[in-house]
Amino acid sequence: MVRLTNITGAFLLSLVLAIPAWASEVTVDLSNPLVQITAGFSGTDLLIFGVAPDDGDVVIVVRGPIQSEVVRRKERVFGVWVNREEVVFDDVPAFYTMASNRPLDEFMPSGIAHVHQIGVENIQMVPRAEYADVKDWEEYRIALIRNKERQDLFKWEPVDLIFLPNRLFRATVRFPANVSVGTFGIDAYLVRKGELAGWETTLLNVRKFGVEASIFSFAHRHSLAYGVLAIIIAALAGWAANAAFRRS
């Protein structure tokens, strides 16, 4: 129920913000609306740029597709560390990073940060219903953020957003090699005098391309054929190796 109110609230707010006079205050775009994961992919930098009045502050939030994550806690059993209790969180963004022109605590009212989920501590991740009775789930939520941060998928601190002449701004966001595929939301928020003065969203697609994409989809869609093919390749490789080294 609480979440439903939040969603409704965010929706109404977005309707209010869709008023053209406000929407024009901040615009945002990307150097490339598509990140391609190919055989040589080892992460990539994405340039985000836009226009905003220089009497306000801008924060950009990049959010990956929503997933469910299981967080497990280890306990010592007979000297060995074993996974014991677990909590599943829904609505976890696969990726979360920000860019802003100065530290958030200098201009961002906590109310806006909370409603718009700006800052990793404000991401509204709640345990799935069957885990609601885990009393210390808050600890699991913090651990989820910490683990995501260790994998370079969450960033606690925003990266630099630089204002250029003519009200232009730009920021470079790093996408690591282990980034998830899917549709990413990129939101630019303009904050002036403690009020949200503008907000614009653009989308980014992260997709696998080429051989990697074909192998992945083949392995998932025709897993039996994939397994058989893997064996045939291995058997041929073994036979070829034997034949090659027998002659020499």
Binding site: K148, E212, F216, G227
Partner: protein, 304 residues
């Protein structure tokens, strides 16, 4: 140079993987062992998810066993009948193993079980090898021939079969049970299981040493092939790109290793291998008992 692995979904250094394949291939050529029990832990240490490491290594072992069995087959050192009976147990065991693997993965215990299995089996195998090689280095006595075979309760079991090549007349239940157990290990640990199969064939079944390795390799091909297909179907964890890189490195390494192996004495080789095995084992053991940097971990994306 980085390469993105499509199933593991991570980017790895291509030369690191080729080097690991070559290094383990070298050792397996040098010692005449499969190398799965070294490769899988190395893959896990280098950041490949354990589930992917185990399934992919099974795929690679298909290649190395095919290559190995051909050489033994040419010399007539494969007992196909015994191999098939072992295989019958192996297919049952590995199928059960993959089912168990999927179950353990879903309940978050697979990493623990993989590592624990390694610690237990590597301790036993490494320890026995070390003791044996030290003994033979000290005594240097040759030709302590094993008795043909002693009669015990095993020979009272039903379903007796004659294995001409192995010169045995024993119950089929025994090789089926051994095959089942080794198949289970293959599925959970990502190994061929030769390090358990070979001693079991010699000491439990009483097979002649000449046909042991070829017959073991013969059944390993099909057991690991079974594991590969079942892992691909149930868990989608077989990474063919990774497997092919390992195969390339492994094949070259094994050939070089085999040439070096001829220059070293048997008991020295076994002693050296025992130390490597115990080293890997100790590293995994530390991993299990040391307080982890973070007692919380992510178990991956779960479905609704």
């Amino acid at each position: 140079m980085q390469i993105y692995l499509p199933i593991a979904e991570i980017s790895v250094n291509i030369f690191l993987i080729l080097g690991m394949g070559g290094g383990v291939g070298f050792l397996s050529g040098l010692f005449g062992v499969g190398g799965g029990f070294l490769m899988t832990p190395l893959l896990i240490f280098s950041g490949i998810p354990p589930a992917v490491a185990v399934a992919t290594e099974a795929n690679q072992i298909v290649a190395s066993s095919v290559s190995g069995v051909l050489a033994h087959w040419r010399r007539g050192n494969v007992d196909f009948k015994m191999g098939s009976v072992l295989l019958f147990g192996g297919v049952l065991g590995s199928s059960f193993g993959v089912w168990l693997f999927t179950f353990l993965r879903d309940s978050g215990q697979i990493d623990l079980v993989i590592k624990l299995s390694y610690v237990v089996f590597l301790t036993i195998v490494g320890g026995l090898m070390l003791i044996e090689s030290i003994k033979s280095m000290m005594m240097r006595r040759r030709d302590i021939r094993a008795k043909a075979h002693t009669h015990n309760w095993m020979h009272g079991l039903p379903f007796k079969m004659r294995f001409r090549k192995s010169r045995l007349y024993i119950s089929a239940l025994l090789p089926i049970a051994i095959g089942f157990f080794v198949g289970l290990l293959a599925a959970i640990m990502g190994v061929g299981g030769g390090f358990v199969m070979v001693p079991a064939m010699i000491y439990l079944l009483g097979m002649p040493t000449a046909v042991v390795v070829g017959t073991s390799l013969f059944q390993i091909i099909f057991v690991t092939a079974n594991v590969t297909v079942l892992q691909a179907v149930n868990n989608q964890t077989v990474d063919v790109v990774l497997a092919m890189l390992l195969m390339v490195g492994g094949v070259i390494g094994a050939q070089i290793g085999a040439r070096f192996g001829g220059r070293l004495r048997g008991e020295h080789l076994r002693g050296l291998l025992a130390l490597i095995v115990l080293g890997v084992c100790f590293t995994l053991f530390l991993d299990l008992v040391q307080t982890p940097a973070d007692i919380f971990s992510l178990g991956g994306v779960v479905m609704h």
